[in-house]
């Protein structure tokens, strides 16, 4: 019993590996004397406010949508889920830019229809955009928790005279708190590390300060500031780890059967979200496409994107498995797991530069696809770790015992029982990594092979140059291919889940 869990050595190795870029940041930052500038206090306030509002917003949108997609009997349930998760595929700066361009006096909407609309800027605008592009994290993690709940508590509350809404609020939500927290964590880290959105929305945040330093060639100062940002990241990680998971026996899941008009009303209420986050950017780009015409796009970019992201997803999941299992087996393992989250909270360009230093230590990898994939893995490992961990947590321990008693060694029991049974979480994790890698930019620019163009780099290129019409096709492709990734994730989910329809065949 005192033996260390078998996953610890590997997990420790991976955690150390995940810390390498942070180590590089430390050595880069060691050049600077300036520790903290009181100027930055206001910026810190803005950063925290943006993070807080974004987390709040992504919970406000993500949780109801999770309830909708998990519990409500909808026509084309899976399609709706894909639609609601799709914003994960869109780079948030694109969303911020198109929202800015569409709304406000003189914006495209005003221009086309003559209707004046309020503009988006500042803290509210940035928080809205960040919310629109991070709520799917909350949606997906919360939905996974919801699916594991037994329906009877809600039914009990309702028969005790509590309305449905109150029952969901008081009986369901407290039990999926950890699922919500897991998603909120990802949303918070994404917000901390994003640069484009607050910049476009004219909000001064930590990342902007870091960027100014970086662009003024103050790399060491930028690294120092990034380390300071990591303190916030660490705090967020700590807070999230305080959320206690309640363990429950899974049971038959709740199904709500609203009438047709109620379904329509629910979908109508939910529709603004995908309209704003997906349809609007594509429409605006489409409009500019008609105005300006297109050119220069090659379909090989899409292939490059998909290929690199796919490799990253696979590798990330492979590495996530030992980390997730270590996290389930003990306190030390949990710490190793937390460590892997750091990469997700550092601004991409700083992280990318740190990885250039790492890459230069491995000349045979430098500027190869291999290093790019490694970079994606380092940045997005937490996405995979989280999903794999939650599926490992719900694994029935007697299955492994049964395998052992049938003569399987611990290793064999792991590969033949534990692994296939956590497949669902692995596929979900792979899908998340895939989506994030598809929209990743700074590491792709810095670390990919020379001449390696992806949808995201092409989008950036034309966006930077102001040829927005050319963003329409890659934008659409990004959404479509990510939809495919999500569909794949849902198939994996179906393999691990036993529907009532399957149940009734007995």
């Amino acid at each position: 019993m005192t033996r260390l869990p078998g996953s610890y050595p590997l997990a420790l190795l991976i955690a150390l590996f995940a810390l390498v870029p942070v180590g590089v940041l430390v050595s880069l930052a060691s050049d600077t004397a300036q520790l903290f500038d009181t100027h930055n206090l206001k910026v810190l306030g803005n950063t925290l406010a943006l993070m807080g509002l974004t987390v709040l917003g992504s919970i406000l949108i993500g949780v109801p949508l999770a309830l909708l997609t998990a519990y409500v009997y909808l026509p084309w349930r899976r399609l709706w889920l894909i639609v609601f998760a799709a914003p994960l595929a869109m780079p948030s700066y694109i969303g911020a830019f198109t929202l800015y361009a569409a709304f406000g006096p003189g914006g495209e909407i005003n221009h086309l229809t003559g209707i004046p609309t309020p503009g988006f800027y500042g803290l509210p605008g940035a928080a809205l955009v960040m919310t629109l592009y991070t709520y799917p994290f909350v949606l997906l993690t919360t939905r996974a928790s919801l699916l594991g709940l037994d329906a009877s508590l809600v039914n009990a509350a309702r028969t005790l005279g509590m309305s449905l809404g109150m029952s969901l609020w008081k009986v369901v939500l407290p039990r999926v708190f950890n699922g919500i927290a897991a998603g909120a964590l990802l949303a918070a880290l994404y917000t901390l590390s994003d640069f484009g959105t607050p910049a476009i929305m004219r909000l001064d945040t930590f990342t902007r300060v870091i960027y100014v330093e970086y662009n003024a060639f103050g790399l060491s100062q930028a690294a120092m500031l990034s380390l300071q940002l990591l303190v916030i990241v660490g705090l967020v990680l700590f807070l999230e780890s305080r959320v206690k998971a309640t363990r429950e026996r899974p049971g038959r899941r709740l199904t709500l059967w609203p009438s047709r008009w109620q379904v329509n009303a629910l979908l109508t209420a939910a529709l603004p979200v995908p309209l704003l986050s997906i349809v609007l950017p594509l429409a605006i780009f489409g409009l500019w496409l008609v105005r300006e015409g297109t050119g220069g796009f090659e379909f090989s970019y899409a292939w490059n994107s998909a290929y690199a992201s796919f490799l990253a997803a696979v590798v990330a999941v492979v590495l996530a498995v030992p980390v997730a299992h270590a996290a389930v087996s003990g306190k030390a393992g949990r710490l190793m797991e937390r460590v892997t989250y750091f990469g997700f909270g550092v601004p991409g360009i700083v992280m990318g530069t740190a990885l250039v230093y790492v890459g230069l230590k491995l000349p045979f990898l430098y500027q190869t696809l291999g290093l790019l994939v490694l970079a994606y893995v380092l940045r997005f490992l937490p996405l995979a770790v989280g999903s794999v961990r939650s599926s490992a947590e719900s694994l029935d321990p007697s299955l492994v015992k049964a395998a052992r008693l049938l003569g399987a060694s611990p290793k064999e029991a792991f590969t033949r029982i534990t692994l296939p049974l956590t497949l669902r979480g692995m596929i979900a994790g792979a899908a998340l990594v895939f989506l994030e890698a598809m929209r990743e930019l700074p590491a792709t620019l810095l670390l990919g092979p020379t001449g390696f163009e992806t949808l995201a780099t092409y989008l950036w290129r034309v966006y930077e140059a102001g040829y927005f019409g050319r963003a329409a096709v890659p934008g659409l492709l990004l959404v479509l291919m990510s939809g495919l990734g999500l569909a794949l994730m849902l198939t994996g989910e179906r393999r691990g889940e036993f529907d009532v329809t399957e149940d009734s065949k007995r």
């Binding site: 100027h39 503009g119 001064d204 060639f217 530069t353 020379t450 050319r470």
Partner: protein
């Protein structure tokens, strides 16, 4: 452009030796397909020439080049940056090779440097909303702008803007620049980039803004009825001509000859007409929509000096602009 009589300085591609071999170009900021077209055309002309392009954020590429050099690795043969500050960083690190005098000699006066070559210029302008203003309402001196009563859009975090402040600092002195920034800060509205500034001007969010000239020209190209015009100040940092630049990192003729291609009449006029950049060799017409360069009176400035960003940032921070 083709109709133009041949003038000294501007060579034609036909006069250049064929390029043979392989080059890796680090290209700071992509300019969406236009630089691409130029580079593609060069490759098409030279079937034995292979160009590998790595695009990226200018500063990130400069940092990468420095990091590579520290690690004893060299992947880039040529570095083309939109911003002379990045050129300065790499040059200061001692990584830039000296360019032959006959190459730098092709450039207009004031744009000739030993270790790097400007490719095209961009001029600081004051885009203004044509519904609200006319050009004559805009002061001729940038220093007078705070007192003009106009609302102003700017992008202090943007590299070009910081170069402009550096120029002002060198021309007007630290103190005056600081006061100017302080005064401006009361009327300035922050934007992420200068494209955003131009769009804001066009929408009437602000009366006038600070931006490189080509953003306005490109916006008007896509939207001919755009309500935005261009104004220029006189003989101060407000109408500074800055340049994108290129430098060679590896020895040999090939990088140098490649740079020569970028200075040809064909390339320069293409960049002028399509990307609205200002040609820096003689005999090529400037982009449409821009007054002739000699009607504008930009300040005299050693662009390499603009790489000295640190004091500028400190100043901007001190007055609370950054």
């Amino acid at each position: 452009a083709r109709a133009l009589a041949q003038t000294p300085g501007a060579l034609s591609v036909d006069d250049l030796p064929a390029l043979v071999g392989e080059l890796t170009l680090y290209l700071g900021r992509g300019e969406g397909g236009l630089y691409e077209n130029v580079l593609e055309a060069i490759q098409k002309r030279n079937p034995d020439f292979k160009l590998n392009i790595r695009r990226g954020v200018t500063a990130a590429l400069a940092n990468t080049i420095v990091a590579e050099a520290q690690a004893g690795v060299r992947r880039a043969d040529v570095f083309w940056a939109v911003d002379s500050g990045a050129i300065g960083l790499v040059d200061e690190a001692g990584l830039a090779r000296k360019l032959p005098a006959d190459l730098t000699g092709q450039l207009k006066e004031g744009f000739r440097y030993d270790n790097w070559s400007p490719v095209t210029g961009r001029i600081r302008t004051l885009p203004y909303n044509t519904d609200k203003l006319t050009a004559d309402k805009i002061p001729a001196s940038v220093m007078a702008l705070p007192d003009s009563g106009l609302s102003i859009g700017w992008a202090p975090a943007y590299a070009s803007f910081q170069s402009f402040i550096t120029a002002m600092r060198l021309l007007e002195g630290e103190k005056a620049t600081g006061e100017w920034l302080k005064a401006m800060n009361k009327r300035g509205k922050n934007y992420a980039g200068e494209l955003g500034v131009v769009m804001a001007v066009e929408r009437g969010e602000v009366d006038v803004g600070f931006a490189n000239h080509y953003y306005t020209l490109r916006l008007k190209a896509g939207k001919p009825d755009a309500r935005v015009g261009l104004a220029f100040t006189q003989n101060d940092a407000g109408c500074l001509v800055n340049a994108s630049g290129i430098l060679a990192l590896s020895e040999g003729d090939l990088p140098v000859n490649f740079i020569r291609y970028l200075l040809t009449r064909e390339v320069q006029s293409y960049l002028a007409s399509e990307a609205y950049e200002i040609p820096l060799v003689d005999g090529v017409v400037p982009p449409q929509g821009l007054p002739a360069l000699d009607t504008i009176s930009p300040p005299k400035m050693d662009l390499t000096q603009l790489a000295d960003l640190r004091p500028t940032l400190d100043l901007m921070r001190r007055v609370g602009v950054l």
